[in-house]
Amino acid sequence: MVSCAGERAQQTRPGLRFKNRIFKNLNLYAFTIVFLLSVPTRWMLISKSIWLDEAWVANSVLEPSWRQMFFYPRWAQTTPPLVLSLMRGAVHLFGSGEIALRLVPLIAGTAAVLVFGVAAKKMFSAPIACLATTFLATNYWAIKYSQQAKQYATDLLLATSFIYIIQELHHRRNRRTIWLLVLASGVGSFLSLTSAFWCATSILAIAWNDMRTRAWSSSIIKECLRVRSLVTATIFGTCLAVSYLLFFRPNVTPGFSRFWSAYTLGSGRRAFLTALHTFVMLLVPPVHRLAYPAGLLLLTLVGVGAFKVMSGTRKNDSLSTLLLLVAVMPIMSAVLLSLAKLVPLGNSKG
């Protein structure tokens, strides 16, 4: 019986190898098609008329001086300085039309799909990774924010970049990846306010990585206090502080503060429900009466995923620990900052 099975396996091995090669290529083709199609999806409406929230960003980018752009006198400037600078560069090169203004978000939104696809492929089996990439590539908001002269597409790119770098660190553990993480921390602080959610994750990722190389003989707290983690923490913290104190804080108006804090988790009883509602709509936009139940179902599955990650981490499962770092920790950081009334989560801005 055993020898018969072995024979069959030997006979089918070359066939299987051939099949695997085809599937491998098929995966690559599928990824390529999904990515390539996500480009025109984002490009299609790029020359549409801009709307209110894009208009004030556009007007600030078109201000004569850099100072007036960073501290726009007519609106509370919440766009990160690096996004504004890149948009100004695009306007300088291609004129002040809608396409030039939306070029940076378009590139960021499209690159986010690619970066996410590459990262997901290293975490999941190819079909699952392709499904996950398709989900992100076809998500309504991911598309819309890539078409708007706002900072949200760069927020998305930053999140996917951190996911990619941290999973690289998980798989390769080389110095180059650590430097890449330090670079992302520095640049990200000026590219997106949401980089603050990745601060704890980055430090823990390096500490955890160091801990694994020492065969788990050390504790995570000790590893956090080692040079590499401390350097990352210092660079990340300094860049975040500079970005916040120099660019964000001077732009905060009383009206903006009121608006901002009304959507934080610390603002009241309903805030948690509002946040949940926003997360549901993020997964499935309200285009149909069945969209909301579908979004709720998906959010429940996300909760199941988070639970599995927690239980897997306890058992030292590698993928679970990685997902704890790249998926659970940033959300937890955001929740904590929102409870401290620093970050809105249940925002009307999906």
Partner: protein, 197 residues
């Protein structure tokens, strides 16, 4: 704003789903895997093609509600520019002022006479006191009355976002009748002319 959380949510979602899929996807053992993987990959491609054909064409440009109409500010500004006469004035509401500014600059057009409303400003505008035309107005209707009284019977255009309930009736009180009312998505353009009695 929470778009940054989307990749994280997707990872957790598919981590949960992976366990379900793994029942069907067995890499080493069966041809079952091949067929299932192929189906998934074809599904991905089909979904992306359908997405390209349907959702991406949906041009609502608002944050959390896809049912909001599109704001065609360029069309609206161009329409006012093409049809405004020399002595006419345009009243721009707070919520439309940045768009009007951007497109008048983009169309290289300076409106001959502009009133900037004190009303309907969004949460985060600043430096209003030096910019609005009638700072002392206590209501939109009072503001409108003051503007009409200073217009000396000239034509007034209104550039705003969304309807102004009762506008026609209020303007009739001041002896003006609506001669143009044209929507450009969510943006509305009105033209009011003085009725000579």
């Amino acid at each position: 704003m929470i778009i940054w959380a989307l990749p994280e949510l997707v990872l957790l979602l598919f981590y949960a789903l992976q366990h379900g899929f793994e029942r069907y996807i067995r890499r080493d053992s069966s041809a079952h895997y091949g067929a299932f993987a192929q189906t998934i990959l074809l599904f991905c491609i089909t979904t992306t093609v359908l997405n390209l054909m349907m959702i991406s064409r949906f041009s609502a440009n608002y944050y959390n509600d896809v049912r909001y109409g599109n704001e065609d500010n360029r069309g609206a500004t161009d329409f006012v520019m093409q049809n405004m006469s020399k002595g006419d004035c345009v009243l721009v509401s707070g919520a439309a002022s940045e768009q009007f500014d951007y497109y008048s600059r983009s169309l290289k057009w300076r409106p001959p006479c502009t009133w900037l409303s004190r009303w309907e400003w969004q949460c985060c505008s600043s430096g209003l006191q030096g910019r609005i035309s009638i700072p002392g107005a206590r209501s939109p209707n009072e503001e409108l009355g003051t503007i009409i009284s200073r217009m000396d019977g000239r034509t007034l255009w209104i550039f705003r976002r969304g309807e102004w309930p009762g506008l026609t009736a209020v303007m009739a009180q001041y002896g003006n009748a609506v001669t143009v009312r044209r929507p450009f998505g969510r943006v509305l353009i009105y033209r009011f002319q003085h009725i000579v009695q």
